[in-house]
Amino acid sequence: MSARISLFVALLSFVTADFGASSAGRGSFVNGPAHNGEEITCDLPASEHLRNIGSHVDQKGMCVLSSVEMAARWQGMTEWHGLRDWAAREPGGAWPEKVDRQVVAFAKQHSLTPPIYLQYQGRDPRPLLDAIDRTARMACVTYGYSPRYGGSIAHMVCCVKFRRQWAVVLDNNFPGEDLYEWVPLDEFLRRVKHPTGTAWVFVWLTPPPPPAPHNK
């Protein structure tokens, strides 16, 4: 009997096995812009990546505007090149209302019309991140942990993919073509809300870049 039951269980396991499932679903890892047939959504050239810096005034980090400017570069907003370095002339560190102020101030100083953007703070950023990826825009998100740092961090990064199995991070502390961090979706959502329990998401609502043209 037990042998027959074992045979049945083995057959059932064979029937239900998903041979396409990834076995690397738990941890994050560093890779290029593609992995196992999946590619990142926002393939910003490495020449346009920004490395985080400290403010010229108080050396506090500029991760927020580093991320926000990279998102602007991705979405073709060339008039906003230099936003991060311009803001680095003020004390560093950022929060949503400070970003509001700096966007308006930069626009005024450079005679630009402030573009539309959306900010979200809350415990459920998933629907918004889904929509941002689906529309090929680049999300800027808080990020509270990564094995790269060995402990909790207070950081903002760009999310260049959020679909299927993976979220992919373009970290302004690790810019470069082969330095994207691939993170399972649920783990990414956990990191986005760590350590405060809520996420902060920024996205420009300007059109994403037009897809590369091709004939039928």
Binding site: G54, G76, A131, H155
Partner: protein, 282 residues
């Protein structure tokens, strides 16, 4: 990376201009090769930029605000790079309510916990206000399946078309049916993607996949463009099309092929288990 490249270029040129004295200095007198002419030029419409010319040939340009240097080889500009390399930023160790945290630029005490807060351009909005402002059924407009209209040209050329999208009755309706962008020919998202950019303006209509459905190299007015959009919209692929639902009218009803589905396997496994257990029962 070489810091302050223009200075080093000038220095290198100066050193080179001194020449090799071993063969060109008869009687101990060295012929000095003429020094190249190095000059920095500026443009009145780009006050924060300077362009290096060597013997009248442009070698590169520098943008002070962005600290970006680009080489120029006579045909194309290189990718920008900083002249002054910033040291790796290592963050600041802070103590938070949850313990020590290395901070790379967030003011944690100014990030209150919110159970879902949206703001549009700095104005806090309720979910319903966000829906009303965006005039769609979700807090974020899903434009992923809209036609893409890309206008490429000078500011005046682009604005002429954009104004018609705002004011002209033929095109105004397309603002909600298409995603309209107006970009310069040298925008990296245009230049590096292979778009044709020499129109006056160039107007592309693309499917979300990128397939070019229509292109014109001059603006012919709102009605011809609206007509092109209508035709392109009709011809493009239906995003909801599912080939598996295509009827095959030639498929015979007496077809003997069996399609094994997953539930067949579960049913078979269940029957097998029942049979095994039944044989065991006294």
């Amino acid at each position: 990376m070489i810091p302050f490249r223009p200075f080093l270029i000038s220095s290198a040129l100066l050193a080179a201009s001194l020449g090799d004295s071993s063969t060109s200095c008869p009687d101990g007198r060295c012929a000095v090769a003429p020094s190249p002419t190095v000059e920095w030029r500026r443009r009145s419409d780009a006050p924060g930029e300077a362009y290096l010319f060597i013997d009248g040939v442009q070698a590169g340009g520098y943008n002070r605000a962005r600290d970006e240097w680009r080489d120029f080889d006579g045909r194309a500009w290189s990718a920008p790079r900083p002249l002054f390399a910033a040291p790796d930023f290592r963050g600041v160790e802070v103590t938070s309510a949850s313990g020590p945290v290395r901070n790379y630029g967030l003011e944690l005490d100014k990030l209150p916990t919110h159970d879902g807060r949206y703001s549009l351009c700095g104005r806090t909005v309720t979910r319903s206000e966000a829906l009303q402002a965006l005039a769609v059924g979700e807090p974020f407009r899903d434009d992923s399946q809209l036609l893409r209209v890309t206008i490429i040209g000078t500011p005046a050329q682009r604005q002429l078309v954009l104004d018609d999208f705002d004011r002209d009755s033929a095109l105004r309706a397309w603002k909600s049916r298409a995603l309209v962008s107006a970009l310069t020919p040298d925008n990296p998202r245009i230049r590096d993607a292979g778009f044709k950019t020499d129109g006056t303006p160039t107007i592309y209509v693309q499917a979300p996949s990128g397939q070019v459905l229509h292109r014109q190299d001059e603006y012919r007015g709102s009605e011809p463009l609206a007509e092109a959009l209508e035709i392109a919209d009709r011809r493009r692929k239906d995003p909801n099309y599912d080939p598996s639902k295509d009827p095959d009218l030639n498929r015979r009803t007496s077809d003997n092929s069996i399609r094994v589905r997953t539930w067949h396997l579960y049913l078979g496994a269940g029957l097998l288990l029942a049979l095994l257990l039944r044989r065991k029962a006294p």
